[in-house]
Amino acid sequence: MKELTNEILNKLIDNELNNSEIDELYHLIKQNNELQGRLKAHQMVDSVLKNLKIESAPENTTELIMAKISANILVKERKNGLFKFFMSLFGIIIILILGFIMFSEPTGQEIIIPQLSSVKNYFGKIFSIFSFPINTKVISIISSAVTVIVLVSGYFIFEQHRAFKNKLNSIL
């Protein structure tokens, strides 16, 4: 070791020098005040940095972040719930329309399109799997059941919305 370089000083601080290199270093600086000063200054910096204090985050940080997370979760749940509701409603409406088309009595005035007729027959066959007699009474029972389901779903959606609003108010 001929001179005290920055690299050697940093290696000393990081415990990357072996014993013989450390001995060599101390031998080199023994009679040199300037080099001793550099080493002392370097060690001083390292020692102060080792005692660096962590700054405290504001007191209510955890609560604020958790509130934001809860609000995000609620919004996501609400979006999912609404999406499911509208998809179900859409599905029910489609089924009702299809059912109405398939089982409505022919008026005699409708224009017969062969392709439409074959599609109608095809769906007619599918619906005939549920082999129960379709008449006005059955249709009114199905309509009543669907109405009840829609009303109950509506009630639950309303309750969910109210609970969401309450939660949101409690968070904010």
Binding site: L9, M44, N51, E55, T61, I65
Partner: protein, 188 residues
């Protein structure tokens, strides 16, 4: 009550116990805040970034597979959040981000801090605040958070060699300032 380890907390949150995320916030909030304050040099921005960073961590926690240490993954998010804020505000800091100067020209700031501080301890701590951002970050991640140079390079997205160069240059610069004011004479 049994104290959960960091990995247990992460697994618990992943399983849907969202409330346990508060434990993770408590572990990291102060360290992340220190880092953000050094980068953004403003308390309000640091608070805002801190909240954003934790939200991002929560939303992407399922993507954390444990390939690296959680702290490395976490600090990377904190660092990137701060970068986004910096770039949106187009601060002077952007210029500083590329600085790897060996000698920091603190000019009047150095003299002001020297005049205001009573001892070498106070002086060095205040000078760290005035270092270019990346130099200050390396020092914080190395000395406060105890990250290795490999982990620091992952957080900052630089090579290990560059992380080492930044750390060494920061120390050398601080040492030169200590020598300038003869603080080394304090040690007998």
């Amino acid at each position: 009550m049994k104290k959960l380890t960091e990995n247990e907390i992460i697994e618990s949150v992943k399983k849907g116990n969202h409330g346990d995320f508060a434990l993770l916030i408590d572990i990291y909030k102060d360290r992340a805040y220190s880092l953000l304050k050094k980068m953004l040099k403003n308390e309000m921005d640091a608070e805002e970034a801190l909240q954003d960073a934790f939200l991002k961590v929560f939303n992407s926690l399922n993507e954390f597979r444990g390939d690296s240490k959680f702290s490395t993954w976490f600090y990377r998010i904190v660092y990137n959040t701060a970068l986004t804020i910096i770039s949106s505000k187009k601060r002077k800091i952007i210029m500083e981000m590329n600085s790897v100067e060996d000698h920091f020209d603190l000019g009047d700031e150095d003299n002001k801090i020297y005049a205001q501080t009573e001892n070498h301890n106070e002086y060095i701590l205040q000078i760290v605040d005035k270092l270019p951002v990346r130099n200050a970050l390396v020092i914080i991640l190395f000395y406060i958070d105890g990250l290795s140079l490999n982990e620091i390079s992952n957080v900052l997205g630089i090579s290990i060699v560059n992380a080492k160069v930044l750390l060494h240059r920061s120390r050398n610069a601080l040492r030169n300032l200590v020598l300038k004011h003869n603080y080394q004479e304090v040690i007998l």
